[in-house]
């Protein structure tokens, strides 16, 4: 009897459908958590759709939740190399209804069968498209030109009422949008972001409330007309490899962009400076200018264009006229560029209402290049150019040419109000000698920071002049002090010069209140000597005896931005 009952119990247990959820690790996991997991998946990029499809097949609950979350199916990538398959695209299009979709088309080729049909199928969803990104820049040799024509045709034919972002990146010069009129007058009402990289001669002119405009490889002709139609722009990012057309008259009315918050402009110096001259925008906007020249540069991904550190310097000179702080990081300096910037920018920028005077200036030049023959007297020239120097309070320099006393003297005269100096590398030499001259040299100086200095360097007792031979320390830490023709008895250590300078300031009644030594090759004895002169509390030392950080590398300074 008992056995029969047991058998029946077993039968009932076997015949009842199992409740898998009850035994799984996901038992009683709230649906919100599963939704949260699903919502993370789209950020995985092109593989997201496959993960979502697989996840939606795990169990009934997961499928129900995945199908209920329309938003996770809205990002679709079409690509010949790693795009979503036809089946995945179809599923995503179906499951995302009615949410706006974002379609990304990259590196398409007809080599993949059925792709044209698929692209057109997706493109015809334009009525609910929130974002359309077409990027052929990477591999445009294999791009089929039919795509450009088809897409242009679709854009002209269909309304795109939900379209907020449109990014069109065509790398092939043959892919011209002949008239540049993408929408045939029917501008999507929600369009806010437009990014275009194309070689159009007469670019798109949209009277739309765009907030962000990014243009690449666009000719300067017509640029001002484009912007004139976009008064609500907040972010402007332009790069062009074309030279400016010089026939834009100076009498051309400026373009008023009252909402502009940041400007990034890259191109030839003449193009950028001429262009900027005609823009009128709030003075607190963030300006970032990048200049290029044709000089060969192995770090550039373009053959014709290359980064030029000269240009970067000039760009900072330009922005220095607008801002309170000026920071220059340059591996190379050429005084011709500074002269050029002075010539071009000086008559332009003050006309915008007068420069804002920076109170802080930081000049950092790459180790090695700072000693090149090109350097000349750039740093003093730069500082003398800036109309702001008289208001300067904080100065940070590591310039090689500032190892000469004469240059520091020149600076001291113009930077009369400086109260804080951070000096790095061999620039400390000239400053230390200058301090020996007591109050005549930076009379208001109260804080001196010394970084990356070898205090045991033997320096000439006589002030160096620019006629003295440059030396070029290598990046090798084992590099010894520079060679000198000066007899040993006419040389002394840098620490001695510095101590003499500090004592002279004391005697002159203008003591330096605080000295900090960081990342320098200095001994405990030397620090004790400094403390004996200034007082124990007035000297900060990081306790490191090494020679400081490695110099900056090219790659850290320049990064190609498309």
């Amino acid at each position: 009897m008992g056995d029969a009952r047991g058998e029946r119990r077993k039968h009932i247990r076997r015949s009842q459908p199992r409740s898998p959820v009850a035994f799984s690790a996901f038992h009683r996991v709230p649906n919100e958590i599963i939704r949260e997991i699903f919502s993370c998946i789209p950020s995985f990029g092109v593989c997201a759709l496959e993960i979502l499809i697989n996840a939606s097949q795990v169990c009934r609950l997961w499928r129900a939740l995945a199908l209920d979350m329309k938003g996770i199916w809205t990002d679709i990538t079409l690509s010949s190399t790693d795009g979503n398959s036809t089946c995945q695209v179809e599923l995503a299009l179906e499951r995302s209804i009615p949410r706006p979709i974002t379609l990304r088309i990259t590196d398409l080729s007809s080599r993949k069968a059925g792709y044209r049909k698929l692209v057109l199928r997706a493109i015809h969803e334009l009525s609910r498209m929130g974002g359309l990104h077409i990027d052929h820049m990477g591999n445009w040799d294999s791009v089929d030109l039919w795509l450009v024509e088809d897409i242009a045709q679709v854009l002209r034919t269909y309304q795109a009422p939900l379209l907020e972002e449109l990014r069109l990146f065509y790398g092939n010069a043959s892919e011209l949008l002949k008239d540049g009129n993408l929408f045939a007058g029917h501008i999507p009402t929600k369009l806010r972001v437009l990014e275009v990289a194309t070689h159009v001669l007469h670019p798109i002119i949209l009277r739309a409330p765009l907030t962000r405009l990014r243009l690449r490889n666009i000719q300067d002709d017509g640029l001002l007309d484009i912007l004139r139609a976009l008064p609500s722009l907040e972010h402007l990012d332009i790069f062009t490899e074309y030279m400016v057309n010089d026939d834009v008259p100076f009498s051309c009315p400026s373009v008023d962009l009252p909402k502009l918050r940041d400007v990034t402009f890259g191109g030839y110096f003449t193009t950028v400076t001429r262009f900027m001259r005609f823009l009128d925008f709030p003075t607190n906007a963030d300006i970032h200018l990048e200049f290029y020249c044709r000089r060969s540069n192995p770090h550039s991904s373009f053959n014709e264009l290359s980064w030029t550190c000269d240009g970067r310097l000039a760009s900072v000179i330009a922005s220095g006229l607008y801002f309170q702080n000026l920071s220059i990081v340059s591996p190379d300096l050429r005084h011709e560029v500074v002269d050029y910037a002075v010539t071009v920018l000086n008559p332009v920028y003050p006309s915008r209402g007068g420069p804002h005077l920076p109170r802080e200036i930081s000049l950092s030049f790459l180790h090695g290049d700072q000693f090149s023959d090109q350097v000349g007297l750039v740093t003093p020239r730069l500082l003398s150019f800036l109309p702001a120097v008289r208001s300067l309070r904080t100065l940070t320099v590591n310039s090689g040419n500032l190892r000469f006393l004469a240059e520091w003297e020149s600076l001291s005269e113009r930077l009369h109000g400086v109260v804080s100096i951070t000096v790095s590398g061999v620039a400390a030499q000239g400053l230390a000698m200058g301090l020996c001259q007591g109050g005549r040299f930076f009379p208001h100086l109260t804080t001196l920071s010394i970084e990356n200095v070898k205090f045991a360097y033997l320096v000439d007792k006589r002030p160096l002049t620019s006629r003295d031979r440059y030396f070029t320390p290598s990046d090798d830490e084992s590099e010894e002090e520079p060679t000198s023709d000066t007899p040993l008895e006419e040389r002394t250590s840098l620490i001695e010069v510095l101590l003499n300078g500090l004592r002279a300031r004391d005697v002159a009644g203008l003591p330096i209140g605080r000295v900090s030594v960081r990342q320098s090759n200095v001994t405990v004895t030397m620090v004790a000597q400094l403390r004996a002169v200034l007082g124990a509390d007035c000297v900060e030392w990081d306790g490191r005896e090494d020679a400081g950080p490695k110099p900056l590398a090219w790659e850290k300074l320049w990064s190609w931005k498309r």
């Binding site: 958590i33 699903f38 919502s39 169990c59």
Partner: protein, 173 residues
């Protein structure tokens, strides 16, 4: 709703500037933690508001073990005083961003523990922790087949054969 029990003043130390909370785990461990640390939890914050209304102090009973609770407290302690956008009820929902480096190490635990933490974080309404755990779980199933996902997360297939072989199910890339 959590069970709330009244406690003596002596049970909950702290009359100073930093108020203390008594959290009781499901394994009946009493954990005292500064209210400031747990302020990231909207659930706890709401409980504390309730205490203030009744001017009584309580212990908060929580339906997960002390081991899990300690992990959550560790997370909250680490981000004490930090502003995390995800936890700001007034901020717009942030976009998906990579898991913070510290979170990655913090969540380097086995699958079951990860699930317990996310459940606890969900219960305590700590959105940033839920988000980080969810991202960690999503990373676990990244690049996996459906069957592998089931194995990893211990979810059983409850589809009928017909459902499983429907046309849409065949689309696996």
């Amino acid at each position: 709703m959590p069970t709330i029990v009244s406690v003596d003043d002596s049970t909950v130390p702290g009359e100073g500037s930093s108020r203390l909370l008594l959290l009781v785990s499901s394994d009946n461990k009493h954990i005292v933690v500064e209210e400031d640390i747990m302020s990231r939890s909207r659930f706890i914050s709401k409980q504390v508001e309730g205490f203030e209304a009744t001017s009584q102090r309580h212990a908060i009973l929580l339906p997960f073990s002390s081991f899990v609770l300690n992990k959550v407290i560790e997370y909250c302690s680490h981000y004490r005083g930090y502003y995390l956008l995800e936890d700001d009820p007034d901020a717009a929902p942030p976009g998906r961003s990579p898991v913070r480096e510290w979170d990655q190490e913090f969540l380097d635990v086995d699958r079951n523990m990860l699930l317990r933490i996310i459940k606890a974080a969900h219960y305590l309404e700590i959105k940033s922790l839920v988000g980080s755990c969810a991202r960690a779980i999503a990373d676990m199933i990244r690049g996996k087949t459906t069957e592998e996902m089931r194995e990893i997360l211990g979810v059983e297939n409850d589809f009928t054969p017909e459902e499983e072989h429907s046309p849409s199910s065949k689309c696996t890339g």
